[in-house]
Structures are given as C-alpha cells and as structure tokens.
Amino acid sequence: MRHLTAVFLLVLAALPDRAGVDRALDAHILPGFARFAVAAGALGEAARADCRASTLHAPFHAAFDAWMAVGDIRLGPSETGALSVAFWPDPRGFTRRALAGLIAARDPVARDPATFATVSIAARGLFALEMLIHDPEFARYDQGDYSCTLARAITADLAAQAQALERGWREEFAPLLRNAGSPGNATFLTPAEAMRALYTQVIASLEFTAGQRLGRPLGSFERPRPRLAEAWRSGRSLRNALLASESAHALATALADTPLPRSDAALARVREAAAAITDPAFQDITDPVARLRLEILQQAVRALKSAIEAEIGSRLGLTAGFNAQDGD
C-alpha cells in the first residue's frame, strides 16, 4: 500500500518536472545554442574575409559571450561536444604546444576543414583561437601566413561544431528530455530524471565557476596564480564568471515553477561583487585588496549555489547527480 501511495504521488509530482524541463529547453537551452550557432557562424565569416588577429577580436568575443549561456552544460550532445569548443583548464599547457606544433610543421590539416575536426581539442575551439589571436607569441601573423590559414580552420571548425550542437540538441536530445518516462526512452526513465539531469548542470556550473574559474587564479594567499585565470589573454576572466553565474541562474529559473527570491537576491550580490573588481583578467590579484574582491565574488557565487539548492533542490526533492568534475 505504501508503494502504491508513493507511485500515485510521483505521478502528480511529474507534472511540474515536465513543465520545468520544457521551459528550460524553450526559454534557455535551445535559443542559447541557436544564438551560439549564429555567433560562431559570423566569426567564421569574418575569418574568411580577413583572418588577421585584430579583425577577429570583436567576433571572437561575441561568439564566446554566446557560448557562455550554454557552455557549462555537459549533457547529451554537449557531453563530449563541449570539450572541443572550450578546452579549459589546461594545466599542462597543451594548447600552446598543439598550436606551436601545427605551425612549426605547417601541418596541411589546417587547409582541410573536414579533417581539422580530427586534431587535438587543444588546437580547436575558443581557447585555441584565443591564444592564436591574443598571445603575442602567435598573434603577429599576416595575411598569407600559415597562422592565418589556421585561424580560418579553427573558426570554420567552430562554426561547424556550433551547428552540430544546435541540431543535436533540437532534433535529438530535447525530445528525449521532453518525453522522459515514455516507453522506448532508455535515457530518462521518469520526468524526474530529466529534471535532475538539468538541475545537475546548474549546480555543476556554479561549482566550476567558484572552484575553477575563480579558485584556480586565487591559488593560495602566499601564491596567487593570475596566469591560471580563464581566458585572461583576452581579458574575459571576469566576464566569463559573471555570464556563467547568470546562465546558471537563468536555467534554474526556467526549471522552477515559482519565483526564486533568494536566488535572485544572491545573483544581485554576484553582480555587485563583480562590479567591484577592477582588472577583468584578474592579473592584479597579487595585490591583497584585489585578491579580497575576487574572494568576495567567489563567496557570492557559492552563496548563489546554496540559494538555488535551497529554493529548487530541497523543494522539489532534487539532489544533483554525478558531474564531470567529480574526480580530481
């Protein structure tokens, strides 16, 4: 009898799960991938017209901004696909080695967009392009140089990846999430599983921002590591942390069926803490005052995660599943 009661109540509980998953897809995820595909396409177009570093800075930033709305999602087509769009962190310096290797060998793979997808992810995607067009060791190339061809290859490949992600989500994975619990859906056996899968992305993203995006450069008080900040070469470290937090909050808001006053207030504090930071690349954190401001931002991101856990996780009886950062 107890089991029957549980089943009955679970069916009722499924209703907000379905609605939340639909809202998350329609309001956040699918439009996010569509915008990223457009921005990455524009970056590819720009590189075809003029592949020199300085002309690519603006469309690079636009594409990276678009990516941040959906970039922390590691599920479905993004489970593996996100790694070749944004390979970071890179503690062993693969990106520099991979780019330098291609350039030194004038590797013909850069002349063939189709096979460029087979090269190391360290030489593909946003972070490879960032180093190529922002690092002084690489960025001084001219039209006709191998590096110019390489910039075209990276951006064309990125545009193709963005399209594939957009299509994969829209045509294959979104339907799987929406019809969770239907016969034949082996991925999500209940709407609650689909809900948890998306909720896990919110929590994992905020953990990644606090622990990696902000935690890596913070290092220890004795040994801050500004060079380990994400995307410091293009001055995007702060912007990425803020956009990631806003995206996690937006996804959480879409999943929920009620207002989230505490999460909204926590996001406002993240924005305030971000506004107090002077160097958007975190390169000033050897200064104790600057360091303190970054620590405050990290605390605000963690508080946002706690607020979302309290307002959505606890209320819907959700716990985050395993995420890709479990492990070292």
Partner: protein, 421 residues
Amino acid sequence: MKHTLIGLGALALAATAPGPSAAHEAAEVLDTYADIAEAGYLDSLAAARDLRRAVEALIEAPSAETMQAARAAWIRARVPYQQTEVFRFGNPIVDDWEGRVNAWPLDEGLIDYVEGDAGPSDENPLGGLNVIAHPRFTLSGREIDASRITPELLREVLHEADGIEANVATGYHAIEFLLWGQDLNGHAPGAGNRPWTDYARGEACTHGNCDRRAEYLRVATDLLVEDLEWMAAQWAEGGAARAAVQADATAGLRAMVTGMGSLSYGELAGERMRLGLMLNDPEEEHDCFSDNTHNSHFYDGLGIRNVYLGEYVGIDGRRVAGPSLADLVAEADPALDAEMRARLDASVLALLKIKTVAEAGHAYDQMLARGNANGERLIMEAVEALIDQTRSIERVVDALALGGVTIEGSDSLDNPSAVFQ
C-alpha cells in the same frame, strides 16, 4: 498544493526505504565493503613489498635481468591497487592520502633527465628541475640542499612543490618513470626504454648520477610500502576508515555509491579516457611510461563492479565476499539491480576489449593517435559504458533513498542537499 504533494511524495518514498531490518542489512553490506577494501590494500601492500625486493635487487646488482624483474613487479603491483581506486571518492581518509601514492599526470622532468616537451613550461617552471642531477637548487626563493635524497625531500619538499599538482615526486608513477623512463615512441609501438645502465656503478653509468637515481628509486619504493601499510591499517578492525563507513549506515552506503559514480564518470570516463583521446597526446595516458594503461583502466572498472557485487578475488585467488549493495537494490527494485549488473558487466567487457587489443600489441597510446578510428571506437565504447553505468548508479541512490532529501521549508544553507561533491 502541488508542492505539498511533492514533499509528501518524497516522504512516502523515504518511508519505504530503510526500516530496522534494512538498517541491520546495510551494516552487513558495509562490513563487506570494508573487508574488500582491507583485502585490496593488504594485497597492494604485499605486491609493493615484492616490488621493493625487486628494486633492491636491481640496485644491488644492476643488469638487464634485474631491471626487467623490477618492471614486472611494478606491473603486478598495479593489479590489486587499481581495484582499490573505487574507495577513493567518498572516503576522505583515502582521498586525502591518494595523491602521495597514485598522483597523475606528472611533469617527470622534476625527477630526472627528459627530452623534448617534457621540460619546464609556463604552467610549471619546476617541470625541468631534475633533482637527480641537482643536489642544490632554489625552490620558491628557498635554497634547497638535496645532497641526500631522503623521504622528507620527496614527500615534504618536492611533492606538489610550489602548489603544482603535476610536481609528483612519490608514488607508483614516479617509480614507473624511474623504471621505464620517458616513452619517446609517440604514437608508434614501444614503451619507455630506460637502459639498466642508468643504475650501473662507475664508468658503466649512463645519463649520470646513477647513485642518486638508485637512491631516489629506493626511497620512493620505501615510501610506497609505508603509505600502503598505513592505508591497510585504516581498514582493519578498529581502523579509522572502517569506523567512518560503519558509523552511519546511510552515510556509509552513500560513500560506496559516491566512489562508484565518481570513478566511473568524472575520473575514468572523463579525465583519464575521453580527455586523453580528444587531446590525441600519446603521453596523456595513465601509465604512460610502461604502456600499462589498458590494465589500470580495466582494474579500475573491475573494482567498481567488486563494490556493487560485494566480492573481491585476491592476488592469491582467495575470495572475499558477503552481503552486498546488489542485495539491497534487488530487494528494493529487482529490475534496477538487473540493469546495474548488466551495465557493470558491459563496462568491464568494454575495458577488457581495450586490454585485449593492447596485449595483442596495439598499445593504448597508439589508440590515441589522430585519425585512429578503431582506437577511438574502442575507447569511446568504454567511455559510453561508464557513463551509462553512472546513470544506473544515480538510480541506485534514489532506490535506496540515499539522496539526503530535505523537506520543503528547510532554510538550512549549511546542509546543502547535493551530496555528490
């Protein structure tokens, strides 16, 4: 109103989970878990002692034969140890200790001579330190006297020096590097090929400082034995790790599934397998000097299955078994138990395929080469199988009500509901 019902749904679920008899059973399951952990660390210790004997023989009488015998002992030592990796995540006592024993990846230029890319980098200026060749050096502004290679030098000064995790001075992979040396074959066949004369005395010594190299190898092997002695004791009757999982049945079961899920997904499928494949880097493999990665992955997978089934086959063939997580799941949801078993079997089989191909001569680092479609398929099939089994592990968490469900209205920010961190 709906929300109240959701809350009640969670409550009703919780009510069907552990009653008094189930709690009793859970305690027995945790006994089996601790027994398997103890057996695995005792086997790892016995194999590490064999390795130490082989290393002493190599240092005493360097030759191609004693070098080969030490390498074989290292390979054997990995068999039980990798099966214990599943105890890492979820058990802080193990996780806090593990970095001394199995830290990876490493910048081996810290320890000894290297060629090519493996030297210093922007990220790690100490990556080219080469302590074997340098009895004195400066580290973070401090003068270090390394004229004697001591346990303190390795453990306290060099290991994770400058806060960089790739500065690995102790453990299996440091010893592996000292026995095999760099694998300079790229994606072509062949492992590291350090000559035995790197340990020869007098004129016959190659690459210099053979006495210091031998001393480093001796100290690192001693430390490995010492560390494993300590960990085996933690799981013995009265040990802290055993006591920790037995203190609270729900927390203990949670540690079991956390270990299974985190090793399956984030660590093995993600960090060790898929990332290495996508980087196409021949040295981005777990046992990169010895080309033993296929075994390390396989025994990791077997260890995850051991924990679920409550069964371990020791290095002497003995069977350690008892009431299992599988029993608990079968009682709560037989279909889920069948799914979990099938997926564990599938991942072990997928890892076995990689092992089979590697043992037939096509090594794991060759599988990582750009455009090696067969290698990519083999590795990705194992990755997919590990991801699939993680989804089932999440269902086990639900079925046994291990999620730490908190009720609506709880304001406790100090007690976040996400348990898998």
